[in-house]
Symmetry: C2
Subunit: 352 residues, 2 copies
């Protein structure tokens, strides 16, 4: 059996769970490499993947005997089959953060489960710690992101629109990777004041401030990087804010290490911003893996201790409504005594 | 108040519901035009949208006084505010098909709701019937899809890869619309046997069969069209299958009208396929609107009677594993006594 399924079986044992229903396709992919629509069941004795005719060919092409996963076409699963899968299972786990209330009721009805129990993100928690292969994929995605950023700095010229620049980034990624890990943000001038700006037809002009938030996927694993830079010259009013954001980004990088509290990290940046009369209006960072946003979340609302081989973003930002915003973000691997930044583009003032 | 919110308030009255929590962003967009992350609450007296700092500027730019929606920054909503929103509400509705089991428990806790009741897709059911403005947007998206298909037929040459063709379609859409409504499918040769094929580096060659499934969005509204066509000549073994798919697609078009059962429509195609020893392995069609797949679903599993101004797809397909597949799909508006196809590209044998 593949090591991730074996891990899950051991975990289930320790939780007195005799069966589990995995519905979240990202968790299915993490455990099995299957990238399709379907449901993974771990029953007392078998690993079963139920999918439909659209995916059967693809699923068979991914799995090997070694995976020990039996694949069913959903149209061949009878009412009795469903009721037999978890026969004699006292507790069956489900993903309460993924399964809708309507689906929850349907699971109980369809599988005739007596005790459908919450699993409290067990797989997501395991996904926080990346193995060697995952880190290799994340590193590749980050390297290509650095290269793409370098390329795009040379590409941007006054007169181009935000949309045009975003498209060039996406083309760059599409020809080298699985594609973007999220919709590329290219914001210029006053548009930079919106953290989630969508690229517009606004044309880049002299003295503009530009924020680009970009990332791609390699074998399903995401990168995430933001840089804020300038056309021709840096407006004086932007400098102190850029410096404050950068100072906090660098400080956070120095504080990152196995054991440190995510709440504390976010609080420190928040306090320093507040001292200067600014707010941190979004979280300081988030885990990155098969999803662009995944656990752990680096925010005052959430307390996790960072652990070796977590991969997270570090992205403080300050936004002055209607005027401009500055955000600087790297994707970072936590190590025993510190961290390694996987994105490595320049963070000092960049003027193009 | 805008007419869609007014409709919902009337509906709530008739269901003895004094409050409702709308979490699905597509439903929020349908009711308010807001395209952001947040929650819409209809309380006894007020319409409230709770979002976070990232979207506040955008939301204010969308809403007018006429909408009568009060916008809150989630950070300014206190524990007491939450508990007061639905004070004296006997029944509060929630979206049980969207809300996870964990969120459901959290809603009860946070809002102190006594009776959180299922709403059985009330908004999705209303969304099935399109108004004039929605049909205008859908028609535009379909027209651009016809134009794009015409363009792409002239563009494709042997030696090009599936990925390259998909990219050309996406570029066409990106420069004229809000972008694609789903990942474009370009499948060639044996890849056409997978209904959900992802474009590969396979190069188009003489005598190839090609299936393209494509669509774009205009003001959020989607188009969806598939054509199967040929390079140089049509293989003899494909013809009878193409003819059978086309016959059923045309027959379905003739059967579409206000009042007809979706199950019956699917059954008729299925039976005709079975008579020829083939199966209909996916649904015959689906609603199209703000989502590329939405109610109603045209399948034997689902019984709805079609109604005037529903917009749905008609997409029979036959797939011979490892060999080839044929699918022909249009987006169609149901009328009182028949239907109007919104996509109108040629469906007879197309040879490029």
């Amino acid at each position: 059996m593949n090591p991730k399924l074996q891990w899950l079986r051991n975990k289930m044992n320790s939780l007195d769970m005799q069966g589990i229903i995995i519905s979240n396709p990202i968790n299915v992919r993490y455990l099995t490499n299957i990238d399709a629509e379907g449901t993974l069941l771990l029953t007392r004795k078998e690993n079963i993947y139920i999918t439909d005719a659209r995916y059967i060919e693809h699923v068979h092409s991914i799995l090997t005997l070694y995976d020990e996963i039996i694949v069913y076409d959903i149209n061949d699963v009878s009412k009795d089959d469903y009721e037999n899968f978890f026969l004699f299972c006292e507790n069956v786990g489900f993903e309460e953060y993924y399964t809708t209330y309507a689906e929850y009721k349907e699971l109980i009805r369809k599988y005739k489960i007596n005790n459908l129990v919450e699993t409290e993100h067990i797989i997501e928690k395991q996904r926080m710690i990346k193995d060697e292969e995952e880190i290799s994929n994340l590193t590749k995605a980050c390297n290509i992101t650095d290269e793409c950023f370098k390329y795009i700095l040379g590409y941007i010229k006054p007169g181009m629109t935000e949309k045009q620049i975003a498209k060039e980034i996406e083309d760059y990624y599409n020809s080298r990777t699985d594609g973007v890990s999220f919709d590329t943000i290219v914001a210029s001038g006053e548009n930079t004041s919106m953290p989630h700006a969508v690229p517009t037809d606004r044309k880049i002009k002299e003295k503009d401030i530009i924020t680009i938030d970009m990332g791609c996927k390699v074998n399903g694993y995401c990168s995430d990087m933001t840089r804020t830079f300038f056309v021709g010259e840096i407006l004086e009013e932007v400098k102190p804010i850029y410096d404050l954001v950068l100072k906090n980004q660098v400080q956070t990088m120095q504080d990152f290490k196995d054991g440190i509290s995510t709440r504390l990290l976010a609080k420190m940046v928040e306090n320093d911003f507040k001292l200067h009369d600014y707010d941190l209006i979004h979280s300081l960072g988030h885990g990155v893996g098969l999803e662009i946003h995944e656990a752990p979340y680096i925010s005052y609302k959430n307390d996790t201790n960072l652990k070796e081989n977590m991969v997270i973003t570090n992205e403080p930002g300050i936004y002055i409504p209607g005027k401009f915003g500055v955000r600087i973000e790297d994707t970072v691997q936590i190590t025993k005594f510190g961290c390694v930044s996987l994105t490595n583009s320049d963070k000092n003032y960049i003027v193009i």
